[in-house]
């Protein structure tokens, strides 16, 4: 029940030609906020059990994208010995993985035996690597100039004329696919698989699918490819692990993979989860406008409160100052009054004492004068009576003084 490449070719052309009207023809609600991707978008199913590692797809990719020829020619399969990743000049690479035969992979072994690639009980598996063209591309979610877009055909496109070269897309890509022209000084581009969008628009197959000699790559509508893959798993449960890689990884990818061994054994991460990049960032992004809406209100509130507190503090300070001033004035007045009172009292007493003193002194002086007078009179009488010879005024005076002192 495999649809051949040729069969696809037939009806793909028509579908691709009509892809321009895809968006318009299908009624698809967007208001429920559940996004199922572009209807009838294309994808590629990579059946790893069928890949023989011929590197023809690498060559076709190289030629269709007019890349420089690699150092080693594409028919040199020794290059498969080392694990490679995409580069600016190789949008797709095929890697070889040696896997231990698991209990359920007998048919795989057989399959690979025909390819002559087994050694002992381990088998060689070839895995093609290129852009998986996510349904919700992480690179597009990360790009701040909308250089990446999910096309309605399924291709994730890149517009170098917008690219600033920040390389956030490369950080974002969970599959480590986008590459960068680091040696380009002025016009570095991000390089990755385009799903051969120009060819799809012309109704052709992607170059790698077209050239694949083993139908390890099948191009078709993604929904059809998933059905197809399910059918294969159902039909050959011993041949495949029960997992379509890309159906849900990171929200789903346009490239789908079938493998005989767990994908983690062939270099594909199984821990990516099913959340798409826009889902992962939606929370943080929706917090942004809320901060813008609430922060100014909140901060102005805080400001107003601190301002009000300040005002109250200022008023209280002023009140306190005024009160203190009043109090101080009162106290001063009181003190002044007291002082005045005291002063007058003191003055009075002082005057009294002074007066008393003065009176006392005056009385003393008067007394002294009287006594002196009396003495003088007595002396004069004595002089007169003794008829003294010495009548010098000076000596009289000095005597008077001496005597007055003696009396004191």
């Amino acid at each position: 029940m495999t649809i051949t490449r040729r069969k696809f070719l037939g009806w793909i052309g028509g579908a691709a030609a009509g892809s321009a009207t895809l968006a318009g023809t299908v009624a698809h609600g967007a208001s429920n906020k559940e996004f199922k991707g572009y209807p009838n978008s294309f994808g590629v199913l990579h059946d790893i059990t069928k890949c023989i590692g011929c590197r023809k797809c690498e060559q076709a990719c190289n030629e269709i994208n007019t890349m420089p020829a690699p150092e080693k020619p594409f028919d040199d399969l020794s290059i498969l010995e080392e694990e490679r990743r995409t580069t600016p000049t190789a949008h797709t690479v095929v890697n070889k993985f040696i896997s231990k035969v698991s209990n359920s992979s007998n048919s795989v072994e057989k399959n690979n035996n025909t390819n002559g690639d087994t050694s002992g009980n381990s088998i060689a598996l070839y895995v093609k690597k290129q852009c998986n063209h996510c349904l919700e591309p992480a690179c597009a979610s990360a790009c701040f100039v909308k250089a990446f877009k999910k096309d309605k055909t399924g291709a994730v496109t890149y517009d170098a004329s917008l690219c600033v070269g920040c390389r956030y897309c490369m950080v974002a890509c969970p599959f480590n696919i986008p590459t960068y022209e680091y040696d380009e000084p002025l016009t570095p581009r991000v390089m990755k698989c385009t799903l051969c969008l120009p060819r799809i628009q012309e109704g052709k197959l992607p170059a790698c699918v077209q050239i694949c000699p083993r139908e390890a790559l099948i191009f078709g509508e993604r929904t059809e490819l998933i059905k197809q893959a399910r059918m294969r798993i159902q039909k050959h449960p011993d041949k495949y692990v029960d997992h379509i890689y890309g159906e849900h990884e990171m929200g789903g990818t346009s490239w789908l993979y079938l493998s005989p061994v767990p994908f983690s054994e062939i270099g594909m991460r199984e821990d990516l989860g099913t959340h798409s990049a826009p889902e992962l960032t939606a929370g943080a992004l929706s917090a942004v406008p809320i901060v813008v809406g609430l922060w100014p209100v909140l901060l102005t509130g805080v400001y107003a409160i601190s301002k009000r507190k300040e005002k109250i503090a200022q008023e209280e300070l002023e009140q306190a100052l005024a009160a203190a001033k009043d109090e101080a004035e009162e106290i001063t007045a009181q003190k002044l009054a007291e002082l005045k009172k005291k002063m007058t009292k003191e003055k009075e007493t002082a005057v009294k004492t002074e007066v008393k003193k003065a009176l006392d002194e005056a009385a003393k002086i008067a007394k002294a004068a009287e006594e002196a007078k009396a003495k003088k009179a007595a002396e004069e009488e004595a002089k007169k009576s003794e008829s003294a010879k010495l009548t010098d005024k000076d000596s009289d005076q000095s005597d008077n003084l001496l005597s007055s002192e003696e009396e004191k």
């Binding site: 790009c143 000084p185 943080a284 901060l299």
Partner: protein, 425 residues
């Protein structure tokens, strides 16, 4: 005092700007007039020269010639250090200005201008450094003016950094306008302080957190211990103590080398700023430890703690968050300014370690060792060059403009012209 007088002399006779510029060049131009060939200046000259040569190599040879970046490691030191650390450490601007103007902590007023200057220079340097990292730098306006990719967190970061750079520029202009003596414009701009401060906090909240949110869409590449749905919150909260640590750290450098430029207000307030910020930083750090613990618990990542990545995670958290938080706490309790300054060095290093861990060390942790990234010497040299350019410009600006002191003409102008003056009494 003498310095202020000369400046007052210089500014009081309002002649032509040109005239004034010439005059000021003659009076004190630390570079033109007296380039002293001290070891520091010689080292600066060498770094600038090497940086110049590498700039030529970068723009003529492409990123490949100077960096170790490759397709698996598209972001290196220039994003991890120059962008992430640069923005985080420039957070002092919004932290200090909001503390002073919004929360009314007027005692931090003298710290606002240096913090705004550092923030402005920091952001200017971030944008400057982006020109090296981005492939086509002349298209940097594209996301904002030509083709806005609104679903990208990098768009958010770019828009906010662009707007915030403008806000910081306007917040910084009063210093330049005072220097130029353009009183009217200066007073108008000072009147916008409140508006600008609130804008600054809004924009800072957004882009500080969005820098963390940049990594939200790469859960498969970042180690689970560092990856968390709370990344934006972690980045925002840690930017607070990053900013405070940087203000303290920068202050201690300024005290050492630019002491003569500081006026009495700055000197008398600076110890209070250091101790106040230590207390705040300490508490925020402890809160940060708390939400980190919540992050561990909510994602059930305990078992990773017993791996070597867990040891490294604990080293970051205990050595560079818990320890500085404790030292800050002791410093704040004992009013020990020196101790606080020592803690600030740890705090700054801790932020650098955290940002580098997220962008470089724990990023792509699953890749085999030979595919991991380590910066080339040229990348390191360019980063050192960028930082040196910042220091040189800082020295030039503080030499001329009233940053570490208040302009004598405007000392009390704040009180009369607008209500958010600096005088407390």
């Amino acid at each position: 005092m003498g310095l202020q007088d000369t400046i007052k002399d210089r500014l009081s006779n309002n002649g032509l700007i040109k005239n004034r510029l010439m005059k000021s060049n003659l009076i004190n131009n630390p570079l033109i007039q007296k380039i002293e060939w001290t070891p520091i200046n010689i080292a600066t000259a060498i770094i600038l020269f090497v940086g110049f040569i590498l700039t030529i190599a970068r723009f003529f040879g492409g990123l490949g010639t100077v960096t170790n970046l490759d397709d698996n490691n598209p972001w290196g030191l220039w994003i991890g250090f120059d962008l992430l650390c640069g923005v985080a450490l420039a957070a002092g601007g919004y932290v200090t200005s909001s503390a002073c103007y919004i929360f009314g902590l007027k005692r931090y007023h003298s710290a606002v201008r240096p913090a705004i200057l550092t923030a402005f220079l920091g952001y200017a340097l971030v944008v400057f450094a982006l020109n090296y990292d981005v492939g086509r730098p002349w298209r940097l306006p594209y996301p904002i003016f030509y083709s806005p990719g609104t679903s990208s967190l990098l768009f958010e970061v770019g828009l906010c950094v662009f707007l915030y750079l403008n806000v910081l520029f306007i917040e910084f202009t009063p210093a330049a306008l005072e220097w130029l003596g353009l009183k009217k414009i200066r007073n108008f701009v000072v009147g916008l302080t409140m508006l600008l401060t609130i804008f600054g906090v809004v924009l800072s909240t957004l882009h500080q957190s969005s820098l963390g949110a940049l990594f939200l869409l790469a859960p498969s590449k970042l180690h689970p211990l560092w990856y968390s749905g709370y990344l934006p919150v972690y980045f925002f909260i840690s930017s607070m103590f990053a900013g405070m640590s940087m203000v303290i750290f920068e202050g201690s450098l300024a005290h050492k080398y630019l002491h003569h430029k500081m006026d009495e207000t700055h000197l008398s307030e600076s110890d209070g700023v250091v101790l106040g910020f230590s207390k705040a930083a300490s508490f925020v750090m402890v809160g940060y430890l708390g939400i980190k613990l919540i992050g561990l618990s909510i994602d059930n990542n305990w078992h990773y703690l017993f791996t070597s990545w867990g040891l490294w995670f604990l080293f970051e958290l205990i050595g560079f968050v818990a320890l500085p938080a404790f030292i800050y706490a002791v410093a704040a309790r004992e009013k020990n300014v020196k101790l606080a300054r020592a803690a600030s060095i740890l705090g700054v290093l801790g932020i650098i370690l955290n940002r580098l861990n997220i962008s470089l060390v724990a990023f792509n942790w699953q890749l085999p060792l030979e595919q991991r990234y380590f910066p080339s010497w040229m990348e390191i040299a360019i980063s050192v060059f960028v930082v040196t350019v910042g220091i040189v410009v800082y020295r030039l600006i503080t030499a001329y403009m009233p940053i570490l002191y208040e302009h004598p003409d405007y000392k009390h102008a704040d009180d009369s012209n607008n209500k958010h003056g600096h005088e407390e009494d």
